[in-house]
């Protein structure tokens, strides 16, 4: 059973296609990475899947409900975490959760226990009666995730959940999400600019200009790029780079960290390099492609290009 299904989903604004015939399937319990440069159509897709925007054409269903015909059922079964903070700073943590419980029509009887449990789970129990505005960015984000779980969603949409957080808070948020997924079959639909977060996804789809350009597991995606990076530190980097370009016909550039060579098989190149180069080599390092390289390869843009331009 698939938690999220989209078939030839299309949406345009003013004649410009934001999402242009997107197909995707997310299995129940899967953590799905939805990546793409800014303006690729990620937010529009999430808005359609969360019933905030109606598709121009195509179908989509979430948790088994059609996003157009059964939008209220979809809403009941999803949690949505947005990039911007959506807690009410003038309310306490408990009051924020209670407002949510009322809006979702949750049983009043079981609310205190559920809310207490979730605050506990997210390490916020002792702050339950503080105003939400006193929380740090990371804690606010955790509160939002706790809140979105109050109604036991089948699918959790995380739209840039760690944007604007420092690395420590980011790690904290992820620890909680991973712990959560160990306990229950929660499907997670994630967009992120932090590719090390995407590494932990079961499957990834890269979106560009409203279309899926590539999809697969992180390992599969990296295998498609076939571009190892070899780093060299030599006595004369400029001269070494020039020799490599001439003798090996591969892409070699010089930057602050030395010579950077992109090649199909790094391990095979290194001994040949050492044999040919006449400048003394101080250090060699071969690295397999990262998701950054995958992203660059398929979209022609780095992940963080034009970041925050949303």
């Amino acid at each position: 059973m698939n938690a999220v299904v989209a078939e030839s989903l299309r949406k345009s604004y003013g004649g410009v296609a934001a999402v242009d015939g997107l197909d995707l399937k997310v299995a129940t319990g899967e953590m799905f990475g939805f990546l793409g440069p800014n303006g690729a159509g990620k937010s529009t897709t999430i808005a359609m899947l969360c019933t905030l925007t109606r598709p121009d054409s195509g179908h989509a269903s979430v948790a088994g409900f059609d996003v157009v015909r059964s939008s209220t059922d979809v809403r009941r079964h999803i949690g949505l975490i947005l990039q911007e903070s959506t807690t009410d700073g003038d309310l306490t943590l408990m009051e924020n959760l209670r407002l949510h419980a009322h809006l979702y029509g949750l049983p009043r009887r079981t609310f205190p226990a559920r809310a207490g449990h979730l605050l506990d789970l997210f390490g916020l129990a002792e702050r339950r009666d503080q105003l939400a505005r006193t929380l740090s960015g990371g804690m606010r984000r955790r509160l939002e995730i706790a809140r979105s779980l109050l109604h036991e969603p089948a699918v959790l949409f995380l739209d840039e959940p760690t944007a604007g957080l420092d690395p420590h808070s980011r790690a904290g948020v992820w620890d909680h999400i991973h712990a959560l997924r160990r306990d229950r079959p929660l499907t997670v639909f994630l967009t992120t600019h932090h590719l090390e977060e995407a590494e932990r996804c079961d499957r990834i789809l890269v979106l560009d200009r409203g279309r899926a350009v590539v999809r697969g597991t992180p390992a599969e995606l990296k295998a498609t790029v076939r571009a190892d990076v070899v780093r060299l530190n030599t006595a004369d980097d400029a001269r070494a780079a020039m020799r490599i370009r001439r003798d090996f016909a591969c892409d070699a550039t010089v930057d602050a960290q030395g010579v950077r060579v992109v090649t199909e098989n790094g391990a095979a190149l290194v001994p040949r390099l050492c044999a040919v180069l006449d400048t003394p080599i101080n250090a060699v390092h071969v690295s397999p492609p990262t998701l950054d390289d995958v992203f660059l390869h398929h979209t022609g843009r780095a992940v963080r290009d034009g970041d925050h331009a949303r």
């Binding site: 121009d56 054409s57 911007e84 959506t86 009410d88 003038d90 309310l91 029509g105």
Partner: protein
């Protein structure tokens, strides 16, 4: 939800809210109640803001009122027959409307702020109708504004208003109606405008003229005739007049000098009904727009 987006493809049937039938009204009401309660909590937690909002009407009442009164030879607009009306007593209903106006319009405008803060988007995915979200916000905002004006209403007996709980309650009810109407107008402007800065600028531009042309500070009959259409179109004119006439029991404060329609003075009930209708109309238009925009 009833999102009215362009649907040219037949694969997307136009459906209304697919709320399950059983108890769906109760769910919507519960959401309204929760949003109303949120505004009350916010009001209680923003005492400094309440104090600042009440400061200028209070200054008008305590400084302008007695100050101007000394300049007036005859009791101001003492058309009330006995000539017993003091200027402060005349001014008081206008002050109440001033006190209710700012917070009410601002509460309506809070929807713009919520939109920018993402708060709105978070509530939009709740399984309730969008109209419900709008109504809950606005009822809460109206009540908060009425409560703020009620803090001034307590001063009423000091300026000659009978300390009659029934009358005070009646006045509070009327103020709530006015607050409701103004909140809805604020919400309508907010839904149409979308930008916080533009909304603030509009608010700053219209509030003072509306008060000046409402009869809050002086009888509207004293203004040049060409302003009459503006005065008659100003909702605050009826709000001020209704409160003034309700408060003018036992000869305290003048009753005359309010708006007339071709020589006919509309009854208080009609004035209040007009406020209510205006509010409901603004709500209907705002809800239509609100449903359409994402």
């Amino acid at each position: 939800m009833r999102q009215h987006t362009v649907t040219r493809s037949s694969t997307v049937p136009s459906t209304d809210d697919a709320v399950p039938t059983g108890g769906s009204l109760m769910r919507e009401l519960r959401a309204v109640w929760a949003l109303w309660q949120r505004e009350m909590l916010r009001l209680m937690r923003s005492r400094a803001q309440v104090a600042m909002t009440l400061l200028s009407p209070l200054l008008f009442l305590l400084l302008l009122g007695p100050g101007l009164e000394t300049m007036l030879d005859t009791p101001a607009a003492g058309a009330g027959g006995e000539g017993r009306g003091s200027y402060v007593a005349f001014l008081f209903p206008g002050i109440l409307i001033m006190a209710v106006q700012m917070p009410a319009l601002r509460a309506g405008g809070a929807i713009v702020r919520d939109r920018e803060a993402g708060l709105l988007r978070a509530t939009l995915v709740a399984p309730v109708r969008r109209d419900t979200l709008l109504v809950g916000r606005c009822l809460g905002g109206a009540s908060a504004a009425a409560v703020q004006a009620a803090l001034l209403l307590i001063l009423g007996p000091l300026v000659g208003l009978p300390a009659d709980p029934g009358l005070l309650l009646l006045l509070f009810g009327a103020l709530w109606l006015v607050a409701f109407s103004l909140t809805m107008l604020g919400a309508l402007a907010a839904v149409l405008i979308r930008r916080v800065e533009t909304f603030q600028a509009l608010l700053g531009m219209v509030t003072l003229p509306l008060v000046m042309l409402s009869g809050a500070m002086f009888p509207v009959g004293a203004l040049p005739g060409w302003l009459t259409p503006v005065i008659l179109a100003n909702p605050l004119t009826y709000a001020v007049d209704a409160i003034r006439r309700l408060a003018s029991v036992e000869g305290v404060g003048p009753a005359a000098g309010g708006p007339t329609w071709g020589g006919w003075q509309p009854p208080v009930a009609l004035e209040l009904a007009a406020m209510l209708l205006l509010g409901l109309f603004a709500l209907a238009v705002a809800a239509r727009r609100f449903n359409r925009t994402g």
